[in-house]
Symmetry: C2
Subunit: 160 residues, 2 copies
């Protein structure tokens, strides 16, 4: 394996292991537990799960894998804080969307060549990318893995 | 910049930005706030800060940068849960150790060539590394960045 493939594989392993950790954690919560706040006055677990789903869904156009599967998740889970939107997707809708979005991402990952990861993501202009070549797909992979860990740490406060 | 350097630079940027985020977050807490639990019955902020310091300190021998600076952090911050050890380092000791350890790590990072990141870390045997070549220094960098994000998500519940 070439050096560049080794670096990429390490990062893809990190993504996968965090997704598996999240799968396990969220699927172990009962629907009642999912309505609990991670700490008093803070986000509920279902909000974190929906938020992660929405952020991962937004990676699809950002990595040029196609349109979002669930743009309707933005209003309840990104542009508004928890408990601000009266109607939100059910637990089952969040679970299914989470799985669909991550499956679609992993298909997209599998279709990229190593060097494709160093191409710009779609939210940066050609001009800016010429100046800042690290604003590439790989940066999105790493930052979203970290974002997932960040919220897993919060969700873990309620597990066990 | 060669492709392999681009991948490495992206990951080092992720480490740096998380360290900066942690610096900012922990230094903004007052000594009284640092004694607060992140959620009822959970770890105190000072414990998280000491725990992160101890885990980063342990990266020094793991990446072959030299011996640990603060092995005495293990008992209060790794091998025991919060509030189990009667005497623990003061806030000022944690703050100073956190800074010293991260500075030493960043000096170590600066001394590595790109390909050195793909060498085995010191906790894996030659035999196992031959079978699992991704158990390299780079994997430690990524997993510790994720570990930092995980606990930052918890600490953030108490900020602002």
């Amino acid at each position: 394996m070439a050096n560049e493939e080794m670096f990429l594989s390490g990062a893809l392993n990190g993504w996968k292991s965090n997704i598996e950790r999240a799968d396990k954690m969220f699927s172990n919560f009962t629907p009642e537990q999912l309505l609990k706040e991670v700490a008093p006055g803070k986000n509920r677990l279902i909000y974190l799960w929906g938020h992660l789903t929405a952020v991962h869904d937004a990676m699809l156009p950002l990595l040029d894998f196609g349109p979002r599967l669930h743009p309707e998740f933005d209003v309840p889970f990104i542009s508004n804080p928890d408990k601000a939107v009266p109607s939100m997707p059910s637990t089952e809708e969040v679970r299914k969307s989470w799985n669909d979005v991550n499956r679609k991402l992993s298909e997209g990952f599998a279709g990229l060549r190593t060097e494709d990861w160093l191409q710009k993501h779609t939210a940066v202009s050609d001009e800016d990318f010429a100046k800042e070549p690290l604003r590439n797909r790989f940066a999105i992979l790493l930052s979203r893995t970290n974002h997932l860990s960040y919220h897993l740490g919060q969700a873990a406060l309620n597990s066990k």
